[in-house]
Symmetry: C2
Subunit: 492 residues, 2 copies
């Protein structure tokens, strides 16, 4: 390691220390902060993020970065870190302060307007703000630069290196097949008349089951924990400190359990990143589409599988006596139902991607100016009808349902479906190994986790997402594996 690279590392360590302090304050805000201290917490976080932004974008950073680039990297990890630091430096410094502040003001107003519009089912309240956000997104895209279309720049903020045309190609191949498959799955589920959960599932018992499951699939509770919040999340506060959260419903223990398995998937990825590279690209998750592949792997491929419940159903019956007259088969049928829903976050595995494909298509048109803001509700409705065979009941249950746009998150949605596709593809690749497959069937997930540790987690951000997919599975993201998975689960 040469001196220039080392100095760049020291500066980035300082930034990571400040970032981890801010992350801790953020976690506390969601879990334990007393109501009246929200305002001061915002002041603390704004101070820290100002410091972090300053250190990562000032002349000193650039000088150290340039020196490291000129001295050259001693190995591929150093090269990847320099590459990623340059990428983020350019991205952060291309937006003038004026725009950053305008962005913050615009989203803050837009969020309030969105909440009101959703409450009142009046798209027109949100429309002018959405127009502002679209203009801003286009401004940012122009400043960041893009190859083919402005959407590239936005998508690339969430999925490093992704290009709209490539994603569109994948999604276009995927869409008709998954739409048809969803239709069949919904019909089959409806005819099966699955049983409903009944009675009360005490929260303490749910916590016991969640904790046992998370530990058994490999979450290290000496380097992490689970708390309760309204909106579940996973956040990393340090190299050995991964905090998950979940929420509980007294009438349905599976909601918190699958929530915990989902966040545990994120947490296993974070716990599997190289500790010594904490805060560096080589010690950080590479993209949302890869992160989501890990959460979905454990929630859907493991958590909703027959082998998993062959092992865990007796334990659930022990904790929840009202489950004692259920068979594993009945339970699997209940947790793996396909059903069209108006609301994305209520959707099951079979229909979830339809929601995303709809949003991706619309966002791309919006950014390219192919559709006016005022026409979004109609376009949403038309596409929804064609995919789901029904109209949205209202704008509140249609184009106003998600918070993402109001936060300026145009370009975020496709990472959910990329996550689904990657999860199935990586699961398929891992289970090509006979030992992984046999263990999986016997509900022993250590070999599966090992495979992910070696092929995904250990690499941090040294490979771009699609290069990582290629290295791990032998090909770029390919929808066939997810289609095959859905067919096995819902149709066969």
């Amino acid at each position: 390691m040469n001196k220039a690279y080392q100095e760049l590392c020291e500066l980035n360590k300082e930034i990571a220390l400040l970032g981890s302090a801010a992350a801790t304050l953020g976690w506390d805000q969601e879990t334990y902060l007393p109501a009246k201290s929200l305002k001061f917490r915002a002041e603390q976080l704004s101070y820290l993020s100002g410091k972090i932004h300053g250190l990562s974008t000032d002349d000193n950073f650039e000088a150290k970065l340039r020196a490291a680039e000129e001295s050259g990297a001693a190995n591929s990890t150093e090269a990847a870190n320099i590459r990623e630091w340059r990428h983020h430096f350019n991205k952060s410094t291309k937006l003038p302060q004026e725009l950053v502040e305008r962005n913050s003001k615009t989203t803050s107003h837009a969020k309030a307007a969105w909440a009101e519009a959703r409450e009142k089912n009046e798209f027109s309240i949100f429309a002018p703000h959405l127009q502002d956000l679209i203009n801003l997104a286009n401004e940012k895209a122009e400043l960041w630069g893009y190859d083919d279309e402005p959407y590239d720049a936005l998508l690339g903020s969430y999925e490093r290196g992704a290009k709209t045309a490539d994603v569109a190609k994948i999604f276009n191949e995927f869409e008709p097949k998954v739409t048809e498959l969803a239709k069949q799955a919904v019909a089959k589920s409806a005819s099966g008349k699955p049983r409903k959960l009944e009675g009360d599932f005490p929260i303490e018992k749910q916590q016991i089951l969640n904790q046992e499951v998370a530990a058994s699939i490999g979450f290290n509770f000496d380097a992490g924990r689970i708390d309760t919040t309204t909106h579940p999340f996973c956040t990393t506060l340090g190299p050995q400190d991964v905090r998950l959260t979940t929420r509980y419903y007294a009438h349905d223990f599976t909601a918190s359990l699958f929530g915990v398995m989902h966040e545990t998937g994120h947490g296993l990825y974070e716990q599997g990143l190289p500790d010594d590279d904490y805060g560096f690209p080589s010690g950080s998750a590479v993209s949302l589409g890869i992160h989501e592949s890990q959460s979905l792997l454990w929630e859907a491929h493991v958590g909703r599988s027959r082998g998993f419940w062959n092992k865990w159903f007796p334990r659930a019956q022990e904790l929840f006596p009202q489950m004692q007259d259920w068979s594993v088969e009945e339970f699997l049928q209940t947790i793996n139902q396909a059903k069209y829903s108006q609301i994305r976050v209520d959707a099951d595995e079979a229909t979830y991607d339809l929601h995303i494909l709809l949003r991706f298509g619309l966002e791309r048109k919006i950014l390219n100016g192919d559709i006016d803001v005022a026409d979004i509700p109609a376009a949403w409705s038309e596409k929804f009808q064609s995919m789901f065979g029904m109209k949205p009941k209202s704008n509140t249950k249609g184009c106003l349902q998600d918070i993402h746009w109001s936060m300026g998150g145009l370009g975020y949605f496709p990472t959910y479906t990329l996550g689904n596709l990657n999860a199935s593809q990586l699961f398929n690749a891992a289970t090509q190994d006979a030992a992984v497959k046999t263990s999986f069937d016997n509900a022993d997930y250590a070999p599966l986790l090992d495979w992910m540790r070696t092929n995904i987690h250990a690499h941090g951000s040294t490979y771009l997402p699609q290069d990582l997919m290629m290295k791990a599975s032998g090909e770029n993201t390919n929808p066939e594996y997810h289609l095959a998975h859905l067919k096995r689960r819902f149709i066969d």
Copy 2:
């Protein structure tokens, strides 16, 4: 407010933001931090405290401080802030970096040696480290400066403006009287044969009672909370964010309750400081001796009083059915027993100060070189015998029992007894007001809290502790009020 003062305020606001972030990390470390992330947490805290130290001691701080001093203060609050900032700046900058680092290394070794010495009951393991700590304390005292004796400089670190001779005068007057009073109290308690608590007190029920009591005496749970830790404490993370902790014993609900009332007393003081001056001397508690007066006021004067239990005992009986055949009288006798104990932290109100008086006398001799380290066990034993009528059972239960010296905390102990004396004196002053007294007798503590808000909390550190006592109670700390309180509680 002139420009120079305003700039000094802005700098101190920044320091307060960093300090509050560090406090949050510290709180998390004690409450929820996963075991493996201790090392990284130490790195984060060391980074933040380095930043804070840098900002509060560098040339920029001094220049701004000097400019504010030269411009003059617009009012007494500004004058007090400038006075205190100068005091702390001088104190922090008088120690060279080399000594600060040596201090940190010495205490770190001393803590380990103390733990081993205590474990093995071998004073000789700790002795050389204690000698190092004494040398260091003397070095610091010389650098900080003092009027009469080195102990002044140490005591003054915990009790702003206190002088050893003044404290000694108070304690010398107090000691023979409290020693005699303790003797009578112990004899009287023994003859009363108090009942013992029996059975299990479920922690969830203890939490309910603690929460109700803390809220009813005025703790604002929208600006604070209670969590569980091995060692109870109160810490402030922001102007509206005061975190208390406690621990639970299944066999004794009063331990956590009195613990919570003690920490609530600290918390009420913190919640009563001026929010807008958060992080400034005018918005900060003035000293340990005043802070402890607030915790003891609520724990001892309120929590162990007849009026309090006339109101709360029925609720305790509701929560803990095994208390149903107890009378309030029996319960008061049980919670207000006087009994000599070897261990300071196990001591009751009547005997607690004897432990402190012993330590104060010894510390002063140690610092003045009137006693050798090797002779401490014998000196401890002799004094203990004369005060408690028994010998320490071992050094572990004698001069090795407290962690304070191993942390370099020479000069800290007297603040406990100052707290006791101040609590009784302030309680007496407050209840001179007939409305406060009547409400107190009826277990309505709002007027008592109002009195403390107005006479103590609102002033932050604008007055020195003894000036504050004078302003609030009409005289400096005077042991007569505490003696009268103990006599009423244990003898009459």
